[in-house]
């Protein structure tokens, strides 16, 4: 098995922990889930637990690593919460969710709400989910940078969640896996207190997923306010000896590569333009008379100056003849 898993879940400064995490591995495939429940009177805790259990049950019935399978798991979780909402005390319960499905080559991740998944490749964040929240939408539209979400005043306004009326509307992404890839699934209580750069720094130090979580939790504890939110994080290390090793800026265009890829893009554009002008110049060298004729014809058609010049030319020709 190529996966090492660890998780941490803590009530923070709150009376109850409404977060829940779970995972399941079947053969070469695995399923990892983190959910953050909301809705008072125990509703939040029930919702997150229902959601995680429903996803894992659905995964056991269909352990394929495909976007369709993940979509079915999320729909099952949504249905489970809607069913339980018939109980009056639980009518307001909702849950965010983030799910990772993976086998030896592929990862599929999906989420609803503001719980996140980070995919670290070659030591840097290669992919992160976009929160279904007001600042998440702003960041997706380019109005604010992604790392400004954690300081945004509307970060708690979640736009989608399991248990809302209608469709569950998940965001699903397929990723290819490389040796040494890391995944972090976490609730907002976690990512609000640990920056992406800190996640990267701690990933460089951690020999195992449990160490990584402890290092990041230490940062969170030092920063946490007394009434800090519940936080839950689940770390997955992909360690298959057969998988290719991820190279810095490989298939994903890591951060460092930005400068180079820009230079590369410009170079390709220059190459395209230069090839064209080279072809034109070569044609002019090989067929100079035809080229001249073409130029003259173009000049004849050009709106300004041509008439005057032609008169000029004829005027000059006369004395010679």
């Amino acid at each position: 098995m190529g996966f090492l898993t660890a998780s941490i879940s803590n009530a923070g400064g709150r009376a109850a922990n409404e977060d829940y995490a779970g995972s399941e591995e079947l053969g070469s495939a695995g399923c990892w889930v983190v959910a953050d429940g909301l809705g008072g009177h125990g509703g939040g805790a029930t919702a997150s637990r229902l959601a995680v259990d429903a996803v894992l049950a659905s995964f056991r019935a269909n352990p394929n690593v495909t976007p369709e399978a993940l979509s079915a798991h999320l729909a099952a979780a949504h249905a489970a919460i809607l069913r339980q909402q018939s109980e009056p005390a639980l009518s307001q319960m909702r849950s965010t969710i983030v799910v990772l499905l993976a086998d030896e080559t592929t990862a599929v991740c999906g989420h609803i709400g503001d719980s996140r998944l980070y995919h670290f490749q070659a030591g840097t964040v290669g992919f992160q989910t976009i929160d279904h929240s007001v600042p998440g939408a702003l960041a997706a539209g380019g109005s604010i940078p992604f790392d400004a979400i954690r300081f945004h005043e509307d970060r708690n306004k979640v736009l989608r969640s399991l248990g809302n009326d209608g469709e569950d509307k998940p965001a699903i992404t397929e990723r290819s896996l490389s040796q040494g890839d890391l995944f972090l699934l976490c609730t907002d209580g976690f990512w609000e207190n640990v920056t992406e750069l800190e996640m990267e720094a701690d990933a460089a130090k951690a020999p195992a997923p449990g160490d990584w979580l402890k290092l990041m939790a230490s940062r969170l504890f030092r920063r946490a306010k007394p009434d800090n939110d519940n936080f839950t994080a689940l770390a997955v290390f992909f360690r298959s000896p057969t998988a290719p090793v991820a190279r810095r800026g490989g298939n994903n265009g890591g951060k460092e590569r930005r400068w180079f890829s820009l230079a590369e893009k410009l170079s390709w554009m220059a190459i395209a333009v230069l090839t064209l002008t080279l072809a034109v110049s070569l044609a002019a060298v090989l067929f100079p008379r035809e080229a001249l004729r073409l130029i003259d014809r173009a000049r004849g058609l050009s709106p300004h100056g041509s008439a005057v010049q032609r008169q000029d030319n004829t005027g000059r020709q006369k004395p010679v003849k």
Partner: protein, 398 residues
């Protein structure tokens, strides 16, 4: 990637400076090629000069051990070996003194080819400043962190960890009994251009907020930035102000990571450059061959000028008019078609009849010939000048 070092140090309100720092030689290119650039800071502990000796010996030993690195040894291995050497030296000092009186923290960072590696024991810290954001890379070896691990495992309330009276006690340092816990990265950490790496003792980070720290390193040379932070600390220093020491360096130039991707980029850029050269060469060929075809009319005009200039002085109005027309046409035309291919520049002088007799090429520079009449008559000077200047751009192009 290049590394620009800087440092600052102050005794604070203490009687003795027990901090030490060191850099490897950034000018030793042979060593930098495999060993990168090393910076380290050590904070000594213990009375009666023991602390001072411990940190100085640790820094000296670590540096010389690291400078003994061979190209075959990996950087993490060399760092571990150097740390072991420093640990043994401080242990030796303690043995010589008879009782475990002294100790030292040590944090060392190596930047090599866009990667950062570090080792640390104790509570001195390594920070990274990227785009104004301060990130602590090391984890302090103090009791608080052990308590945090218990909090993470839900075995202890956070409040207890934060208020435990022993929370600042060191759990790992050079000179301790037993084997020290080492903080360091097992995987490379990638540096970006303009990243700043700062190593400092607790006298620095306990005296300022993270915001103040980051603000001091917002710009300027690393030594100026270190001095700025030192000034911030000293401006409000209390009677308890500890020794403060910082060693920093800034990375510049492209990151060296991802050799394959970089090579491809370099090849692409190089290819574009080569293509540009080929273009210039062929365009020059085209320009020359087209010009050769167009020589005819120019030569005729030149002889005409000579003839007229030498012949009769009673006909200037006619000639002037003629030259005036001619020169305006020539002067204006390059301005009209700058967007066209270079081969088009001769166009205004072009004569459709030139096609018929391309072999009339005579190597007479038109500019020179046209200037001649200008010297004779002041009235013509203007026109002659114009002609001269109008000729220049084409000369330059060649």
């Amino acid at each position: 990637m290049k590394y620009q070092p800087g440092n600052a140090q102050h005794i604070g309100a203490r009687k003795e400076q027990q901090d030490a720092f060191a850099f490897s030689d950034p000018a030793d290119k042979k060593f930098v090629a495999h060993g990168g650039f090393l910076a380290l800071v050590s904070d000594g502990m213990g009375g009666l000069s023991n602390g001072r000796e411990a940190s100085a010996a640790a820094a000296r030993t670590f540096l010389s051990a690291y400078e003994g690195k061979t190209p075959e040894e990996t950087i993490p291995a060399a760092l571990a070996r150097s740390l072991q050497a420093a640990f043994e030296v401080v242990q030796g000092l303690n043995r010589a003194a008879g009782n475990g009186q002294s100790g030292a923290t040590l944090v060392a960072a190596v930047a090599h080819d866009g990667h950062l590696y570090w080792v640390s024991v104790g509570d001195s810290r390594l920070y990274l400043i990227r785009q104004g954001r301060l990130v602590q890379l090391t984890r302090d070896h103090c009791y608080r962190e052990r308590l945090f691990d218990q909090v993470a495992g839900d075995r202890l309330p956070l409040a207890e960890a934060l208020t435990n009276p022993e929370r600042e006690h060191l759990t790992s340092y050079l000179g301790m009994v037993g084997s020290p816990e080492i903080d360091g990265n097992t995987r490379p950490f990638f540096l970006e251009p303009e990243d700043q790496v700062v190593l400092c003792t607790d006298g620095v980070y306990r005296a300022v907020s993270e915001t103040e720290f980051a603000a001091a390193f917002a710009g300027g040379s690393p030594s100026a930035e270190c001095e700025a932070l030192k000034a911030t600390i000293l401006a409000r220093a209390t009677e308890q102000q500890d020794n403060l020491t910082m060693a920093a360096f800034r990375c510049s130039g492209a990151a060296g990571g991802g050799a394959v991707g970089n090579l491809r980029s370099k090849l692409t850029v190089g290819g574009a450059g080569l293509l540009l050269c080929a273009n210039l060469f062929v365009a020059d060929l085209a320009w020359n061959s087209l010009r050769r075809l167009r020589r005819g009319p120019e030569v005729r005009r030149a002889t005409e000028w000579k003839h007229v200039g030498a012949d009769d002085t009673t006909a200037p109005p006619v000639r002037q008019k003629e030259t005036g027309d001619d020169s305006t046409a020539r002067r204006d035309s390059p301005k009209k078609d700058p967007s066209q291919a270079p081969a088009d520049e001769q166009e205004p002088v072009a004569d459709p009849a030139a096609d018929a007799n391309p072999d009339e090429a005579v190597p007479v520079a038109t500019a020179e010939t046209t200037r001649k009449p200008g010297h004779k008559k002041a009235g013509k000077k203007g026109t002659a000048k114009k002609k001269g200047t109008s000729q220049d751009p084409t000369e330059d192009k060649r």
